[in-house]
């Protein structure tokens, strides 16, 4: 089976954020999948991936939590691929996969906890974890996407913001940096490729993998606001109308600290913030509401209507 065929039906792991602050990402991912004829089967009774909170307390518990998601997909749903649109979930599942393949102690802890919890232990390699970007890029491709575009994103200048967890650390993403066609950890381009196929003009954005301050938005909000403000200013200076995101933590951080920067620092940066799935969905002819634009904090409806989208 080719990668293209394999990715047409995947186990969908939305994760906690997509049920809360990132709901519009959940909505738009599902809508785009449906519009493209791709099949998402939600992981049964999924749990938290361990996120940053658990990882900072005990990394092996995080490995177990992520392994349980993969175990369910592999052993209870007979799926080969788990697709996680959230950078945190994607990162943690990849990290768990790496740890289980390379760290005997982690494998022993996961085995012990899995038996205690009463489910099959996940064995390294049972599933392949991919991001929503991999999913659309491989299952549909730029040509396939371009052929399905009904409302071109032509005239929209986009700064593609990948955040810090999509490509780091490099060793947990062995499929990246494998030459032409593969994703780059230093200069990621899958989101750029997909949005360009939908007609958007990507700008040269130097902070595309820089930290958004998401991990400390509660413990040090002022620092997060400064980091976000810097990203917004750099995107604007790059000439972008829109920052496209692919991580719910980055997205909500950009939106909330855009407002906080106005209130606390008196600095306003007029730039729209949309999930890449929202932009793709509207390019595929879906209404703005169908891809959850009304659920975003940053108001981009007027901007989109002026460009014949949504």
């Amino acid at each position: 089976m080719t990668t293209k065929d394999k990715y047409k039906k995947v186990a969908y792991y939305p994760g906690c954020a997509l049920e809360g602050s990132g709901h519009s990402y959940n909505r738009s991912t599902k809508a785009v999948g449906k519009a493209l004829g791709l099949d998402l089967v939600e992981v049964k009774n999924w749990n938290c991936c361990g996120a940053m909170e658990v990882k900072n307390i005990d990394p092996k518990i995080q490995t177990y939590l992520s392994s349980r998601v993969m175990s369910t997909a592999a052993n209870e749903m007979d799926m080969d691929v788990v697709m996680a649109p959230c950078n945190g979930c994607y990162h943690n599942l990849k990290k768990a996969e790496y740890d289980l393949a390379n760290d005997t102690e982690s494998a022993e802890v996961v085995d012990r906890l899995s038996k205690k919890a009463g489910h099959k232990t996940y064995e390294s390699g049972q599933v392949e974890t991919i991001h929503a970007l991999d999913w659309i890029k491989e299952a549909i491709g730029e040509d396939g996407l371009a052929a399905r575009v009904k409302n071109s994103l032509s005239g929209i200048k986009v700064a593609n913001y990948y955040g810090c967890m999509y490509t780091r650390p490099r060793h947990i993403f062995p499929e990246k940096d494998q030459g032409p066609g593969s994703e780059s950890t230093s200069k990621p381009h899958f989101m750029d490729d997909l949005l360009a196929a939908a007609g958007a003009e990507n700008v040269d954005f130097p902070l595309k993998t820089a930290c958004c301050g998401g991990a400390h938005t509660l413990s040090d909000s002022d620092m997060s606001t400064k980091l976000v403000l810097n990203i917004l200013k750099a995107a604007k200076l790059s000439g972008a109308d829109v920052i496209a995101t692919e991580c719910p933590t980055c997205h909500s951080g950009l939106e909330m600290h855009q407002i906080r920067a106005e209130k606390t620092l008196g600095e306003t940066v007029d730039i729209k913030i949309l999930y890449f799935t929202q932009l793709l969905g509207m390019a595929l002819g879906l209404k703005a509401k169908k891809v959850g634009v009304h659920e975003n904090i940053n108001d981009s409806i007027k901007f989109l209507k002026e460009r014949g989208l949504g």
């Binding site: 900072n56 780091r168 130097p206 980091l227 990203i231």
Partner: protein
């Protein structure tokens, strides 16, 4: 080495319209000093070596040794260098002010990221890459 507060003032300064090259040099030097703070906090002596012609890249490599998550600012360092080259190789370019401003924003991001890691007291969890330094600091407390 200037203090972090002095460095912040450099990054917060509006881009000058004259003496562009000196301003680019100062931003590059200030970026080096930011990583010097990180390296010094780890109890090491900042390297004077260069990588690909830049001390900043050698300093980043030193800062990331034994702490792979420090690579979260690797591309930012490379972008500082890229923008330094952009400014200094074409100082007469029509977009020179914007290019220098962008170099300032990228440099400031490096500063915000690393200075945040260094604010151990009262910060709580900054991010995964700050944990080793914080743990070491806590273990030294009476």
């Amino acid at each position: 080495m200037r203090t972090l507060a002095e460095l912040e003032a450099v990054f917060d300064s509006p881009p000058p319209t004259a003496d562009i090259l000196a301003a680019a040099e100062d931003l590059l030097r200030a970026s080096e000093e930011v990583i010097e703070h990180w390296v010094t906090a780890r109890g090491e002596v900042p390297t004077e070596d260069q990588r690909e012609g830049f001390r900043l890249l050698a300093l980043h490599r030193q800062g990331a040794k034994g702490d792979p998550s420090f690579n979260a600012c690797r591309e930012t360092c490379r972008e500082v260098v890229y923008h330094y080259n952009l400014v200094t190789l074409e100082p007469e370019h029509s977009d020179i002010t914007d290019r220098l401003y962008m170099m300032g924003l990228v440099s400031k991001h490096l500063y915000l990221f690393i200075s945040g890691k260094l604010q151990v007291a009262g910060l709580g969890e900054f991010c995964c890459s700050s944990k080793p330094i914080r743990s070491a600091s806590e273990s030294q407390q009476p």
